[in-house]
Amino acid sequence: MQESTLYTITIFSENTVGLLNQITIIFTRRGINIETLSVSPSAIKGIHKFTITVFSTKDMIEKVVQQIDKRVDILKAYYSTDDELVFQEIALYKIATNKLLALGSIEEIIRKYNIQILEMNETFMVLQKTGHYKETQGLFDELKDSVGVLQFIRSGRIAITKSKVERLSDMLASIEEKVTNEG
């Protein structure tokens, strides 16, 4: 039995209706739980980028990624481990203003955790923190115990590869070259 690790899957796709379903059914079939998911338009017009994290084995992740890559509307899918990526998450925390003020030094917390304040009024404040899971979770745990957290939300992971190869643009370039050569 291989060990289960956190893998980040990056997928570039056409922006068509139902694409997310096409991707998730491949995980469903194999009983894999999606940990985080984030989708947005990519740097290339008309192409969407999915970043998905899952716990899985290397053997399994390879098969799953190939099956995703095979779908007609998917341009490219690949997987990476944390050491191959620069990645980030963002978290928002809604706190009762009076409780936070009662804590004494807000400055200290802000400096310690590198927080931004997005909104503040007499009832509540919204804090923002970016970081890895451990960091955003650390702040949550601390705030929950000290002042209580009214609402908390964390985004899915977004990631950029450290590799010098730009897989999608290289692929698109080679497709383009082929099409112009042929026609």
Partner: protein, 586 residues
Amino acid sequence: MKSKNNNIEEIAGQARNDSAKGTKRIISGSQILIESLICEGVDTIFGYPGGQIIPVFDTLYDFKNEINHILTRHEQGATHAAQGYARVSGKVGVCFVTSGPGATNVITGIGDAMLDSTPMVVIAGQVGANLLGTDAFQEIDVVGITQPITKWSYQIRRAEDISWAIARAFYIARSGRPGPVVLDFTKNAQAQNVEFEYQPCDFIRSYIPVPEVNPAQIEAAAQLIDEAKKPFALVGQGVILGNAEEELKAFLEKAGIPAGNTLLGLSALPSDYPLNKGFLGMHGNIGPNMKTNEADVIIAIGMRFDDRVTGDLTKYAKQAKIIHLDIDASEIGKNVPVDVAVLGDAKETLAALTEKVKKNSHTEWIRSFDEYDKLEYDKVIRKEIHPEHGQITMGEVVRRVSEATENKAVLVTDVGQNQMMASRYFKYSQPRSIVTSGGLGTMGFGIPAAMGAKIGAPERTVCLFCGDGGFQMTMQELGTIMQEQIGVKIIILNNHFLGMVRQWQELFFDERYSFTEMKNPDFVTIARAYGIASKEVNEREELDGAINDMLQDDKPYLLVVNVETKGLVYPMVPAGACITDILLCD
């Protein structure tokens, strides 16, 4: 027939001219659909009408001379017929069905086509776009339901998108590893009038149907093959789908390699071809299964190491280096770790490999299969095809029918014991001679698939073997056979049991025959009701005469043969066992 094709050419020609000249006609979405299909070379459609596809059927009425529409008796039948048609002809099978229940009735056929890589385009009516998502009458989420079992599933909501979607659908269905495509066609788009222009599709930027052949992979494979002492080839349907039968033979002959076939790979090589060592897997031949675990190099060609072929993966071909030739990169390493992957179209990769490998003969190794052939003949085959007493066996019926057609017929099977017996004892002399449900194992596949096969290869004799169970799953298609006078030869191997399940109950469940015995109707009377000639045979002596009667003309025929009730298909590798742990007759 000729004038039909001329018209088709004319219509397709006009569409091309219009596009070239920029003088586009404004026509309805339904007409755009039909003319687009004609541009794709479609001349046969299997279908069933209903409320949300009526406009399309109305247009079809004007194209009766160009398109042969076969009205099946159930939408499942339409899909299996399209599959049978596609499998024998290599063309894309096409179905028209209505929304809601029409669409849900085609799920089995779509799933079957997906698992067996059969090119098919299903066009389903859908409620008007303004009603989508409202639980309108006969609205169902067809794209959502079919996404997991199609190569591509798309909803057409505007008439402007029809010709684009059709072009793309056909390109996807037939290119690369073929498969089913669903187009969910809203009623408003059918009725809307827009300009028509047809551009065939031959490129989708996100889709690489055929990976480029990599010379390094060919080189590495050739080296392994040249060094091999006991090479063995596993032939799958990829060879047939890629029309690579001649390339396969050239490869096997040059390198002196014996080959086994998967169920769907049967007929890629003729049965009597010296290097063809038979059928792989659960009910396959002893030789190829045993030799899989003796070979030092295995060359898998267009096959996917299905569990019915491999048995216990932890004990499968562990001693061998494995070379896998496939068009689908996601098959590489999916079930079996591979030493050398050769991606590409089998026609190209086999030719490239043949050029690179050294001439070889491996005479001793090839001859070593003989002892297993003899063992199997003595223990299993002789009793099955030349029984001296007792009730008629399935095997003898199959072999006699095969020989009566000079082994030239197309074999269609249903699922169960009949399927395994037919695949084992039928003989193949030309490619595309077997149509069977491999991946999904769909009972009821037989009758409609045989209809489609006969329509796809009208000049060939088409013989269907089915069980009494499977026959009753789609026997309403006898109505289609009657109406269209489709000359299929149906043989029911009647054992009054759901035989294959009964076999498992006998072997693995202490003979507890839980709900597998069947009280059957008088099949001959049923055939008579449909005006189909029919005969029932109980005695061995009557068999040849009945087969000759059946084959004397090109009309439909139902032959009911009452075979031994408790026959068993041997050899058998029990599910999940090692492929060399083969059960033979007691």
